[in-house]
């Protein structure tokens, strides 16, 4: 017990002395992890889309060959970056590029280190995300695509308005995973001189040999960062799911929509039977949904009135 109190004191002392260094580390770690996760996510999405371009046997050989070529490239990229340690990739790129270009391309100074780190972590995250996105797209029921095609959407429209939003939602847990992994694993970028949170620890203990108190501080900070990130991403997921509840619109939209000069006026579904349909609704609402919805009112709220207004335009 006493030892724990001692540790507390030591930690407080070191924190008081070095907190600017720790905070710089936190800032660098978070910026790198955030941007790299975002960039990696975008790379992953591009790869995922490239990997799921549909083709049929009737397509011309050139098109099929091109798609196969793209898939091969993506595959090599994924296998290579997923299959080697990031710390080695860092060395490869940071020293390899100048080596092969006879120093025409090199990462100099602080900005060089930043650029190299961002590139490496992004590419790495991208390799993992590529597979997640591919899985996310494939997991969307084929019926969604067919539903979109059946109303005349083309491939791009189907992807952007139906498939991608759902795939993105499905892979959010993996995005969160990657973000948290990046917060921790950016620490290997010390190999090329990146000053993240862990690198600060190495610096500080190099001066005062307070290995354990500093490590304890770092542990707490890492936990705080990852836990916050995890909560934040869960919150975002919840937001994407939308409300569990929904508002029933009880106002008589029929009157509003009736003013709309719909193209088939007089043909399918014209005014007849409106009474019946309307009564059915009210019945159903009363029997099934009253219990679940706080919002039951016979007089239209401001929002409903707006709905009606828009409908009438």
């Amino acid at each position: 017990m006493e030892r724990i109190i001692d540790l507390g004191h030591d930690m407080a002392r070191i924190w008081a002395q070095y907190y600017p260094a720790y905070m710089t580390g936190v800032r660098n770690t978070l910026i790198l992890a955030f941007i790299a996760t975002l960039a990696g996510g975008i790379i992953g999405f591009i790869c995922g889309i490239l990997n799921t371009i549909p083709y049929s046997k009737n397509d011309p050989a050139v098109k099929r060959g091109f798609i196969a070529f793209i898939r091969a490239i993506v595959r090599i990229y994924v296998e290579f970056f997923r299959g080697t340690p990031m710390v080695l990739q860092a060395v490869f790129i940071f020293y390899g590029l100048p080596y092969f270009t006879f120093n025409k391309v090199q990462f100099t100074g602080n900005s060089g280190i930043w650029i190299a780190s961002l590139i490496i972590v992004s590419i790495n995250t991208g390799a993992y995300m590529a597979e997640s996105v591919r899985g996310g797209i494939l997991s969307i029921d084929r019926g969604q695509t067919e539903g979109a095609m059946a109303i005349g959407m083309n491939h791009i429209q189907t992807m952007t308005s139906v498939i991608m939003p759902q795939a993105l939602r499905n892979i959010m847990p993996q995005v969160a995973n990657n973000f948290i992994i990046n917060i921790k694993d950016t620490s290997v970028m010390f190999i090329i001189g990146f000053m993240d949170l862990f690198a600060q620890h190495r610096n500080i203990v190099g001066i005062n040999y307070a290995f354990f108190p500093s490590a304890a501080i770092e542990m707490l900070i890492y936990l705080a960062m990852t836990f916050t990130a995890s909560c934040l991403l869960r919150f975002i997921e919840k937001r994407m799911d939308g409300n569990d509840n929904y508002e029933l619109v009880l106002a008589d939209i029929a009157t509003a929509a009736g003013n709309y000069n719909f193209p088939n006026k007089g043909t399918p579904f014209d005014e007849q039977n409106r009474e019946v349909a309307h009564m059915e609704n009210e019945e159903r609402i009363n029997s099934e949904y009253v219990a679940e919805n706080h919002f039951i009112s016979q007089t239209p709220s401001a929002e409903q009135t707006e709905t009606i207004g828009k409908g009438a335009q």
């Binding site: 059946a150 109303i151 959407m153 139906v162 009880l250 193209p263 828009k310």
Partner: protein, 246 residues
């Protein structure tokens, strides 16, 4: 007689070595309600999917308002926007609300303004009795309600023909009625419809023509009165007998 709205000419479809549809030939005229009945696996869904170009026919032609669709005279997307389809499994967009489901196609494909699309969507949602649920997501409504939204979504595109592939077979029995009554209303209002169904009473009551498919060919076709009352082919008799037994 007037030109048919949809003309299916010697249409065949194979998957690999399996010939699923063989030499299908029939016409759909404006205002027709054609029911397609037949045993499971006889190719009814495949036929509808070919008509909507969700499957590419192996041979034969589909003529829509005098234009040959299969020869690529009209782009598949333009054509599909004019031929609506209602699926057995609804296929509502899970990421959109009921209202957005009915607006998306109008905005993206027909390039209508948001307000216009909204008004049109509301109109048809009201007609199928789903107006109160415009803010709900598909997962929050029942099967029968989903199917009615799907019908509204198809109608919002102002299609010239509507295809239905067993629109009620995924539904609990108590929800079948609400969807059939919407379809009946559509039929009475003059919508041109092509309906694959196992609801014989429904086919009998609303169809102007019934097509009986067996093993990938049209075995017999005729008015519901003829086909149900006085079937000519043995296969038709057997099929109908089996249905009455159940």
């Amino acid at each position: 007689m007037t030109e048919p709205i949809l003309k299916i000419n010697h249409l065949s479809k194979s998957f690999g070595n399996h010939e699923i549809l063989r030499d299908i030939d029939f016409n759909v005229y404006k205002g027709d309600v054609t029911s397609i009945i037949g045993m499971s696996g006889s190719g009814k869904s495949t036929l509808l999917r070919c008509i909507n170009l969700l499957e590419t026919p192996t041979s034969g032609d589909i003529i829509f308002n005098g234009e040959n669709i299969t020869s690529g005279a009209m782009s598949p997307t333009t054509y599909r926007a004019k031929v609506g389809m209602v699926f057995q499994s609804f296929n509502l967009f899970a990421n959109m609300t009921v209202l957005e489901n009915c607006m998306a196609g109008q905005i993206k494909v027909l390039k209508k303004s948001k307000d216009e699309a909204r008004a049109c969507a509301l109109h048809y949602l009201d007609q199928v009795g789903m107006a109160p649920y415009i803010n709900a997501k598909p997962r929050q409504i029942s099967g029968g309600q989903k199917q009615r939204v799907a019908i509204a979504r198809a109608l919002a595109m102002s299609p010239e023909v509507l295809l239905f592939d067993e629109p009620t077979s995924a539904l609990d029995p108590e929800m079948v009625g609400e969807v059939l009554s919407v379809m009946k209303k559509l039929a009475n209002d003059g919508m041109t419809m092509l309906v694959v169904t196992h609801e014989m009473a429904f086919a009998h009551d609303i169809s102007s023509k019934v097509v009986f498919m067996n093993k990938g060919v049209i075995c017999e076709e005729g008015s519901p009165y003829e086909l149900f009352g006085n079937p000519k082919k043995q296969e038709t008799k057997d099929f109908l007998a089996r249905f009455i037994e159940r």
